[in-house]
Symmetry: C2
Subunit: 343 residues, 2 copies
């Protein structure tokens, strides 16, 4: 839209009329350039993806309300694309198509929207995922907060891949793909204006390549999850309870950056409950575990991968943390809310 | 959740932790009961829908910010399900799966959320569409406005069906499935507290059954659209411009309820620009038109269907309105915003 500095989003940009059309043409179509989006119909139509090898379709959605919109290592646009890619990937699906829907507060700078949309487009393109349909609504000043984004995604699962907590059994190993808590601390520190010697960057990243590496090169992969809201502790609890097993993790084995550990100590947060946006937890058979860690380490998004625990029979549905001095304590799901608007 | 009167949504309901889990179990799962949703994974997995007869997949999304949340004839929940069904249906697709994502303002009554979710569940069940995946975020008081909903939908187009503005040609007829402006006036009157002798009800309804009736029983159907935001005038302009034809509509032929006409006169609105949520515009070959109108009239959602115009060669991309006294004037797309937060 040429020089848009100073221009602001008006209610009429959500009218469905001339200004809506101009916004679509000059911001969304320009950034998302896709022949499936270009007809601007109410729906995108695509060919059935290669039916013979597809065993399942995967479908997911997330809304993003992160505050602030821009943070070290990412922004709400990149987050909204990576988050949906990751929700498909941890189900073993290859992400193909994505929708993008915006709820924008009246008065938001048009240049801010453009920056967010460009970030979505770049992230999706780099990931090989197509944004093919969308929507924009505008709410009055004070009835929203800048930009909220919803993305939904469709992916396909290839024949023979089956990831499910139901497959987890005693003797399995638990692997995390890298350092935890980076996203939570990055957003929090930026939001609260906390000065750090070396600011922590969000780990926000698309993980479908890492998942593919693992699924192609290793057997024995039972289940995967991405530890976003609620953090590692909550996701491990969900895996334990869904599989009816017990998970024992060794505190010392969990990779945590020094800066994150330091920030947590000062601010009183437990890194086990901080959100991650570029990490996954994999439960794999005991014998596959060293190989899976090796495969992860070769991928840039898995370079700090570590074997952090094992699956046992009892206490069913519980997660135990073994501390560095050998004590064991039960760690629960996140209770209450420590960091609102983190994604 | 038992007696929830007085209980309110807290930020912790969006934490991803214990309260999020309870909300999912006790509100969403309880209402949406679906075996694909029940595993509570990050994605829903479903079998490839009957590949041999499927020529295309359809994918759509819309966010809903209607204010107020409840209005005569519907609510944001019903609207969010019907809107996505209709966006699939007008592409000729049979709607199959839907996602539901909520952005809730802290302090919203839990009972209000339950009422909205129940309405979504009832509407989806009656329509034969499955809600299989979802998400919930909570924003601080004053950073949202009650409940915003995003739905995305997946449908399948059967072999041989092809609806596209590109197929429109001079000589075609333009049909609307019923009275226009009902939704716009219903929401506006309720919002502004305007007293009417007989309050106008929103036409909010799922139209995939009506579309199926037409596609099965009539040939010559070229394109369909649902005249939501921007109204009939804007959608006709889009069809004319996308097809490079001219559309001539006769003012007298457009079905408008007396109450809507009256409200428009008093309030200074043009019904041609008011949103509809249970109406479709079909462009069909001239010879098919009377048959299509007859088929529509037999369906409860098409009982006021009418042939309102014809497609001509010139002036390309323009819509002409022939008034009752025989004058013709160009009607443009909606410019500006007459009714924000209508859907």
């Amino acid at each position: 839209m040429g020089d848009n500095s100073g221009k602001k989003i008006l209610l009429a940009h959500g009218s469905g009329g001339i200004l809506s059309h101009r916004l679509i043409e000059e911001v969304f179509l320009k950034a998302f350039t896709d022949p499936l989006l270009a007809p601007l119909n109410d729906q995108a139509l695509f060919d059935p993806p290669n039916p013979p090898s597809v065993s399942k379709f995967a479908f997911t959605t997330d809304s993003y309300v992160v505050s602030p919109i821009f943070f070290p290592g990412g922004d709400i646009g990149k987050l909204s694309v990576c988050g949906t890619i990751n929700d498909l990937a941890v189900g073993g699906a290859e992400p193909l198509y994505m929708s993008a829907s915006f709820i924008i507060e009246e008065g938001t700078e048009l240049s801010v929207l453009e920056k967010v949309v460009d970030s979505m487009a770049r992230t999706a393109r780099a990931a090989g995922v197509r944004i093919v349909t969308g929507d924009t609504k505008v709410v009055e000043r004070g009835k929203g907060d800048g930009i909220f984004i919803n993305t939904a995604g469709i992916g396909v699962v290839t024949d023979g891949i089956e990831l499910s907590p139901a497959r987890i059994s005693p003797g399995d190993s638990v692997i995390v793909s890298g350092t935890i808590g980076d996203h939570g601390i990055a957003v929090l520190a930026h939001r609260e204006g906390i000065m750090m010697d070396s600011p922590v960057q969000s780990d926000c990243a698309p993980l479908h390549g890492l998942v593919k590496d693992i699924l192609i090169n290793a057997g024995g992969v039972k289940a995967m999850r991405d530890p976003t809201r609620g953090g590692l502790a909550t996701i491990l609890n969900e895996l334990a309870s869904q599989s009816g097993t017990s998970i024992l993790v060794r505190e010392e084995a969990i990779p945590i950056r020094e800066e994150v550990r330091g920030a947590c100590e000062i601010l009183g947060f437990d890194p086990l409950y901080l959100a991650n946006e570029g990490k996954l937890v994999a439960v794999v058979s005991g014998e596959s575990a060293p190989g899976v860690v090796e495969i992860m380490k070769k991928n840039p998004f898995g370079s700090d991968a570590a074997l952090i625990g094992t699956v046992a029979e009892e206490p069913k549905g519980k997660v135990l943390l073994e501390t560095s001095i050998g004590n064991r304590r039960i760690i629960e799901k996140l209770s209450g809310e420590q960091l609102p608007r983190i994604c």
